[in-house]
Assembly symmetry: D2
């Protein structure tokens, strides 16, 4: 297991930011492994991701955040997050009835592609319990009705706390989460929408794509915000389709795109390569 620190930073652009941050790492004997920075000139905003080896680093791990803030962050109006790679993140999956994304994520986890824990799968249906059992992952059935929604979200919130969840992946979870729930997990709920957003928002996008006669269909992974299908986009991909493809074919082809795009978002999240800002994301990869 690696022992790295990763800092994700954004702040108003100003001269000398890169020099100061790199010097902070260097003076304290951290070896920089990756550094990527970006300036949005239009917005006058600076973005940076820096990863360094903690072996021999002079500042104790639990003080890094504090020192960085005091020495650099606060003075420059920085917004920063510190991540340590020696702690495996805990990812909870929400599913409904469609199995393809769930299977795909579990398979990638099983083959070592995702370096994380999956403490539980939560579903509003019982259908996919057998898959959870095949992969020896606890399955929680939390049925939702219009009437019980608020109560069930509370129950889910408690469960997530018990599970020590770091973030949530909606692997074709077909319930709309309340604004309150979304607000508790800012940039920590990843959804897969089965269209190339902003085209075909909402329900039944493959039907709409068929109707419109598009020549490519797509999928979009994004962070969930209170605005349905409007959160910051993490990844997108498309596949060509033709008149040969009926709606069922679009669904079949689309499943593959969904799996790929969701897996990419999860990978980026686990490697702390995503820096959301406003309604956009900087992807450091």
């Amino acid at each position: 297991m690696s022992n790295h620190a990763i800092l994700l930073i954004h702040c108003p652009d100003q001269p000398g930011l890169v020099a100061q941050v790199t010097e902070f790492v260097h003076k304290n004997r951290g070896n920089i492994l990756n550094l990527d920075q970006h300036v949005d000139r239009l917005a006058g905003r600076f973005f940076m991701r820096i990863e360094w080896d903690l072996d021999g680093f002079l500042i104790p791990v639990d003080k890094i955040d504090d020192y960085f803030g005091t020495l650099i962050g606060q003075a420059h109006g920085m917004n920063w997050q510190l991540h340590l790679t020696r702690r495996r993140p805990r990812m909870v999956l929400f599913v409904s009835k469609a199995s393809h994304c769930l299977y795909d994520l579990l398979q990638r986890h099983g083959t070592g592609e995702f370096d994380c824990e999956i403490p539980a799968i939560i579903s509003n249906h019982e259908q996919l319990r057998y898959i959870a059992e095949r992969f020896d992952i606890p399955f929680h059935y939390v049925p939702v009705t219009q009437a019980t929604k608020a109560e069930q979200e509370q129950r889910t919130t408690i469960l997530l706390r018990e599970l020590g969840a770091d973030f949530i992946v909606l692997a074709r979870y077909m319930q709309i989460l309340s604004d309150d729930f979304c607000a508790q997990w800012p940039h920590r709920i990843i959804n897969i929408h089965h269209s190339f957003l902003p085209a075909f928002k909402g329900a039944r996008p493959y039907h709409s794509a068929f109707e419109r006669g598009v020549k490519l269909i797509g999928a979009t992974s994004h962070y969930v915000t209170a605005d349905l299908d409007e959160g910051p986009i993490i990844a997108q991909a498309v596949e060509p389709v033709s008149h040969h493809d009926a709606i069922d074919d679009l669904k079949r082809i689309g499943k593959d795109v969904e799996k790929r795009v969701l897996a990419r978002a999860v990978y980026l999240q686990l490697r702390h390569l995503i820096l959301p800002y406003g309604n956009r994301t900087i992807i450091f990869s």
Copy 2:
């Protein structure tokens, strides 16, 4: 130059259609070069493209349409078009100020990729006249204002008739054509829209794409109908973009996609590979 006939057919689906059409060609000593058919089961609609060599074909060229209608087409409620490859189609280009699509089409024409005549370029601005001159193609300046629009469209209509135009390509022509004008050229005006429709309809799609933070940008070629950006889609493509790309980069990258997608539509049109039906297209390729 080839001497082929191409029939594009659609009608209600019914048994025996392929057999009858192929027998019509075969009995009259036509050698079938390509045959492609498609059934839209949902709509119960049959679509076919058949291309055959006219050398030795028993029916005189100017009677084929008539014979086919009498012997087969009318009995089955067919909607058909006959095309003869020995006549080079005449394509007229409409442009405004952006040169990339115009250059690209002229270059492809110049290198023999497009088997057609380009009798003229029509523009509401003078800026691109020098390109027309470089390629020795007549350039017609037809300025348009809100007040003169109807009059100028009439003038254009007369010009197109004189030019013997078969179809029109809007190579980033930034005027909206009137419903009347569109109605005169059904499935004979091809437009390039600089977004992946139906996302980002209307003006300034790259700005909208930037705002939304999409990870792919695209272009769409489509037939023009009275409904702006809503006509049948012919071809679409996308390219990945990232946070590195400012709006000017999106425009730069987008230009390439636009050129490619428009060129593809023109190629398909010239080879009679497009069969529009309702708001969709069957692409026989």
Copy 3:
């Protein structure tokens, strides 16, 4: 379950072939569902795939092959195969230690994407037995050494016969099959090679790709012939890579391409959409 017949035909090109085949189907009250034909002008060769509904077809199912041969096939020197969709094909998977393709195929089978039986998984290692067990599919461990190879292939041949195998998929099976074995399963063994053939044949293609500094890596599914990595190609795909990607990243990215390309080949095989000819394939899709 559908009740269709599919004929795959190739023969020297000659006038009237499409008309005769379609008439054969039509006169016997078969409704043509799909028809695709292709002529390789260079080789003077005709290729066709025709699918029709057997409900109400006048010729008994077990006589179709015979009648077609007598009435049409033999007279034109045709090479043809008849497939009936009401019989589910039996696909046997060969694996070694890498799990990603196996998982992917089983998941697609489990979600209904592949309409076939998987009577067994055969492996020269024990490592992936647990996956077979998770999916309730019999697992046969057939270890191979240089000394036992011939004997084990015989054992495998008997096993395949008992299983009623129609075709074999090498889902990252790392043994080279003998010429004799290959010859018994012409166009019935599908392999996935982890490079964009013909680049990087043989072992360790990701290492070679890294060394050469390519900007795209790929995968190729192909029929297995006695010539290693030289059989007819069924499907290929690529993904972009960059200097950020070390060999392990190429492997990770490559796994996704492999899964996709192998799944596509299996899908095409199950739908009888592949017509191999010489060292090439016609893909009717």
Copy 4:
């Protein structure tokens, strides 16, 4: 016109490199606009590209290289190049008979996509002179035979010196350059090869691709070295093909890929985004 400095650096990896380079820029009042660095752990090699604004920079432009070397570069065994954006690079095009890449580059130059001078087009044939004339660019006819090759390369070398050429683009130039000539322009000759290297090296790659029955065709832009088709790869792309595509179709489709891939390489070269190392390239984009 921008007034930036760009440093491309590589050297053995060691702690503190990023900090020192950024501090060099920062202390001398340069505002860092872009910074990208990469470490090849296998090779233990550090790579960096840094771009900063020269307005207000304390070190005079003609001393930057010297100061950087003395203060940082030499001490760390760095290999570096300094580029200044206020000087427009001079790109000379070599062509033979195929016009598509030439047209494409000139069109991009004409629409402002390439920020450079094109002082001349050099060709071993007269065929494309008319295109040079259309774009008002001097055309030099330098015929080559086996016997005159050495002499003509000398003549070309003198011409290039007179033209003040910074780099050369072989836009489908069909002569093999001598080792001597290549050695004079290290990483300053860009070629487009019409295949996905290392597949189909050498002549007639589309014929070979057709023979092998590949499902994708590609193009590769690379720096030219004495080893034909073996130089460091800059960019690659592919397009799908099928059995519908005869060799002429492969050529037609391939032309588009060639244009795109060559234009990408030129763009990267002009922006100083390519850092070659050994037989690979780091692309900072």
